[in-house]
Symmetry: C2
């Protein structure tokens, strides 16, 4: 394992989100095509003359293109999940990227060696074409007309975007959660174009309880009358009530029960005693949930949430590529695979990563798996940076040195 010396670790500094319009339409799994797609992106580090040092990092459900450094783009409330949300730099205009601890000089994705590219996902609400974008066919936001996209569609969009940048091959694709699904999808969909994948706190197919949590979160949004079937833009009403509930559900699934106990216990808001109230938060954890819901609603679009949530429940490599066999689905990949899971993650539990490892091993593919014993649940992929850095650095040593 390679431990970076402390003084070599730094920030990528100030960054700006840029935008690229794909040159042609994008075909989707559902059969539709999007006539015009804009992609929001950031890059960190220097592209080699051979264009062979590119790492694509893929964000999770509520992320955006701003993965590292301080944004000089107008600030929003930040894009980190759960406890990780509190780690962002609160100063106006200086919001830290959602994976700043992992991307930079001397960090896991070392910008002294690699050119790191981060895009906002297809269907997103942070600059890449999504439900809140203008539909060129109508001149109004897509709303309900925006198609149901898949992880494969997101990766197809990323492929088209990199084509437009003139980047053929990727040294690595990396991500956690839904981002890890994209990394796996890349390895399966474009086996000759990616050398390595880093799949953190992710899975080849979300387990049924995870499918249920996502369904409940979507129901909370779609049952809110303000959702209006998805056509709420410009009406003066958005499904903020339902989005708040969806966020609360998500939030609790991102954290472990023991982390909640350690952090909040059963402490009351009032120093004295209970106040016999339904509508006011009474326990600290209730107040925390209210706060998280309110801040998420301000920064995220409900129709994007619905589509990304649906995409991550649909994702199922064995079904899509192996007629039910994960080993068959992975038989064609050529990328080296790094899997990292966290002991307390019950939304993307270690068992899922172990299934991927077993399937890759059965298919004779190189795979490295690390189970990190850590208490915070799924959010560990954003919080446990110090322990992931040496693992990822060591794994990426084999890629082309800068």
């Amino acid at each position: 394992m390679v431990s970076p010396s402390t003084d070599s670790i730094g920030s990528v500094g100030s960054v700006e989100t840029r935008f690229l319009d794909l040159p042609g339409p994008l075909r989707l799994d559902c059969g539709d095509e999007l006539p015009a797609v804009r992609v929001a992106y950031e890059t960190y580090g220097t592209l080699s003359p051979e264009r062979d040092n590119v790492i694509l990092v893929c964000h999770a459900l509520s992320g955006d293109a701003h993965a590292a450094g301080h944004s000089i783009t107008p600030p929003d409330a930040g894009t980190r999940d759960g406890f990780a949300a509190e780690r962002r730099d609160g100063a106006a205009g200086k919001a830290l990227g959602w994976w700043d601890g992992m991307i930079g000089p001397g960090k896991a994705f070392d910008t002294d060696r690699f050119h790191v590219v981060s895009t906002n996902l297809l269907g997103g609400c942070k600059g890449t074409t999504g439900p809140s974008s203008i539909n060129p066919n109508t001149g109004r936001p897509y709303g309900a007309d925006f198609p149901v996209v898949t992880v494969a569609d997101m990766v197809r969009c990323e492929r088209a975007f990199l084509d437009a940048l003139g980047i053929d091959r990727l040294a690595a694709v990396a991500g956690g959660s839904l981002g890890g699904m994209q990394a796996l999808q890349w390895a399966v969909q474009y086996p000759d174009q990616v050398d390595a994948i880093v799949v953190i706190a992710s899975t080849h197919a979300l387990h049924p309880q995870g499918v249920a949590w996502n369904a409940i979160a979507r129901e909370a949004i779609m049952r809110d009358p303000a959702w209006q079937g998805g056509d709420y833009y410009g009406t003066g009403h958005a499904p903020e009530a339902g989005m708040g509930v969806a966020r609360m559900v998500g939030h609790i699934t991102y954290l472990s029960a023991s982390a909640l106990t350690e952090r909040f216990g059963r402490r009351l808001q009032s120093a004295d005693d209970i106040r016999y109230t339904l509508e006011q938060p009474e326990f600290e954890i209730e107040s925390y949930l209210d706060h998280q819901a309110a801040s998420f609603v301000r920064r995220f679009d409900a129709n994007t949430y619905l589509r990304l949530s649906r995409a991550l429940t649909y994702f199922d490599l064995a079904r899509a590529y192996g007629k039910g066999s994960l080993a068959d689905a992975l038989a064609g990949i050529s990328a080296r695979t790094l899997l990292i899971a966290f002991s307390s993650d019950w939304l993307y539990p270690p068992a899922a990563s172990e299934e991927v490892r077993a399937a890759l091993t059965a298919a004779g593919k190189p795979v490295e798996y690390h189970l990190i014993d850590a208490p915070y649940g799924h959010d560990c992929f954003l919080l446990e940076e110090a322990r992931q850095i040496p693992i990822v650095r060591s794994f990426l040593e084999e890629e082309r040195p800068a």
Copy 2:
């Protein structure tokens, strides 16, 4: 352990829910008092001449007074939770009680020996005075004016109800989940009036994650515009959308992840493949959640749900009676205690029962604890009857034989 012979096990037969009006007002923890309280109840077995063979069984959040036998009361959609909901007798007018497997001749609560009494909780919506009852001061349903009640208030109501029946002492108080909280509360609140308590899948204080799930469920209801601050009766609108989401959240917390995997896996509704839909259920588990939500909304009142959910999060014996020490809180009880927990119950995890056991042991109180290894989660208390019966029967052997 006593194993009942099969041929001695039977049903309590057809039963009818009856009603009793308390003779006076009921004082509540919040400082209010309810001027008139009606209690819905059922009884099974014969009251001894000495009135010393009474077992009070207490229901959980969504239960009612119909605990055993076939109801001759007009049927509703049943009162069992989770997978247990499917175990009820579907024939019109013959709905099985929610604990029918445990109550009857030769069963855990043996009606050949005991007179079993079951009431609908204070604040309920199944015949006992609750938010949907008429407020005698206004002539209209209480709605928002119904107070926030506590587990202690529920027990105070049960005490007043038994007084009215002329029953001074209880051979036992028994219940699962919120019902188990009532049993613990009885032992603390009326230490000289209860000989034994049977506390199943319950706790002395819900853990923070459980507090969070309950808060989310209540938020889903209260954020539904149809809730109208609680005054929705007679308006033609009820918070059915929010109640459905609340029920879905509850439902998933009642079951284990592995039970969901075993039962539903990732099977699709459509035999062919995904249909790229947001609004239609796509996975079997999504369809199941929809169905559970729809059937719950038809049979349960949202304002009752809010109050019972709040009561079970407030419940905290150490805070209320021990200045933070559970052992101090339990120091005054004289009842023998039976605790049963289930290995896969993550809403009321075994650790909570073990804390009660430790505190009772520290206080020198008799306590018996059984951890049952079973896969269904919190719902085990309604499903794993065969394994609970010998434990409960053996524990109750020491009580007065009929």
